[in-house]
Symmetry: C2
């Protein structure tokens, strides 16, 4: 069995190659070629914590992947990471455990960052320059890294956090990647942004529709469990293009679920990201549209990223 720890995994990360793997995974999932059983879930209510188990198998592939990810928000009180986890790769031919990637959540962060940037590249205006990140968690680094690789024209980067101290810490932690400034007024920064990525644990709308200018693209990745919400339902209803990573999952607990439940939008408006990647006319068709990508995270991404790590690790010896 191959066993890699976080440092060993970090050493082989190659975002351009991994972006191709995640994009391909989205296409395969939308084409129905990935078996994606319901996500496993166990909660620890007294700590507001939970654990998700995402797993799946790409038709015809020799392996399948089980990804365990935990979220314990109270870890932040002791300055420990709130996310943790491990990824297992098993043989789909014999059932043997082939690899144990003890990534401590790194691969979830990387594939989520890449998913966000793939969606932004698909839907943002060609001339987009200003990126606003809303949130201060570990996702911020990977969203910025992935957006830098896939949307190199995004030259102005701002980060907003409800907690000033945590926002400044997050910015210091990524200062080696690119110039980032702290957004002090969320409304004004939203009004100025071309691309907005929301990656918070919020349970109420942070971004109001009237703040958002025409032509803006928003990638919302925070709503990954029931009760979470980052965008005003008016904004979701206003968007001319609503791309999601898995219709059933997003309709259940993604960002779009609130607008669906309040009947502000119909489910027929949701477009699978893989379909939009295959057929860009399903995405943005003009410079005035507001576009939204609602990404809840799917096992197809975990499969792609785990296999990419194993390939990169074996090619580097």
């Amino acid at each position: 069995m191959i066993s890699l720890n976080r440092q060993e995994i970090e050493a082989v990360i190659d975002l351009p190659k991994m972006a191709m793997a995640v994009e391909s995974a989205y296409r395969l999932a939308s084409a129905g070629k990935v078996k994606l059983p319901p996500v496993g879930h166990i909660t620890f209510p007294e700590r507001f914590a939970d654990c998700h188990i995402k797993y799946g198998h790409v038709e015809g592939e020799d392996s399948f992947v089980i990804k365990v990810a935990t979220g314990f928000p109270q870890n932040s009180k002791s300055n420990q990471p709130t996310g943790n986890g491990i990824v297992l790769v098993l043989s789909a031919l014999t059932g043997e455990v082939c690899a144990c990637l003890n990534d401590e959540m790194l691969l979830t962060d990387v594939r989520t960052g890449l998913g966000g940037a793939i969606a932004s590249r698909l839907l943002a205006r060609q001339d987009a320059q200003k990126l606003l990140l809303v949130g201060t968690g570990s996702q911020i680094r990977w969203q910025i890294e992935a957006h830098k690789v896939l949307l190199p024209k995004l030259t102005h980067v701002e980060v907003w956090g409800r907690d000033t101290e945590r926002a400044e810490l997050a910015i210091r932690n990524i200062s080696n990647i690119c110039d980032v400034s702290r957004a002090t007024n969320l409304r004004r920064s939203v009004q100025n942004a071309d691309v907005i990525v929301t990656a918070t644990g919020s349970t109420e709308p942070l971004i109001q529709s009237e703040w958002v200018k025409d032509g803006t693209h928003i990638t919302a990745i925070g709503a990954d469990a029931p009760g979470k919400q980052e965008l005003d339902v008016n904004l979701v209803a206003r968007a001319e293009c609503l791309v999601v990573d898995l219709i059933s999952q997003c309709a259940d607990h993604g960002e779009v679920s609130h607008a669906l439940k309040s009947k502000r939008i119909d489910q027929s408006r949701l477009i699978d990201i893989g379909r939009a990647l295959d057929n860009p006319s399903l995405g943005r068709v003009g410079d005035k549209q507001v576009t939204i990508a609602d990404l809840t995270g799917i096992a197809a991404q975990d499969i792609a990223i785990a296999n990419a790590v194993l390939d990169l690790s074996s090619s580097k010896g």
Copy 2:
């Protein structure tokens, strides 16, 4: 993170201590003190193979457990084990992965063996001497080991397998544990047995009611997925005592599910094993009764056995 391989785990196995842990787990589960989310399941139909993910958390414990088990029956064609898997222990306080027990299915075999013997000890007649094992898989060894520990009066042991060659191989593999003879006529051996353990992958009844003498106890562990069946429904309907490891799971796909679906028995007759352990008057109350334990396997056992391995491993340094 603690990482143990199969050999390291095998070196610390202590069946009497582990039996106490599994028995305690059954009691806790029946008392509603174990969070047991639905079992995750992914299939590989072209290989008649599957993977189960069992996970859960005992109220108040500092850790929780995720157990992955695969079943690839076609591995037997190349003389490889058909079962495989891995057990993860995570902190219920921080979400960190504390231990990775790369047991290759060993712990599932051990806890299943112990579960079977705990049920047999609870329900068999006090004077039972003759044990018949039906099946030739890896379970046979662990059922015998666990029955030897918990029911030392069982001095006559027979193994029956549909395939003579595999039955003889299974017997050779356990000849170091105790004297075992091969049952050549299933009907006659059933008629003679005091305790029968069925551990096959059968999808049709192997044991007919008319073969079974009064006073016999049967522990059926083969029916762990929809479509599997080892006992005649008349036998299930005839049993005066029907103990199960989890009512909802056994009613869905356990041995008793067939008699329930054909309305030969009512679900109110099923007794949780933990309740019967707490209150033996719910079990056998005379020497003429036929008793059946239907064990589908629950995450509470996996939690107990994983924690026992970590305790034993740490106490042995």
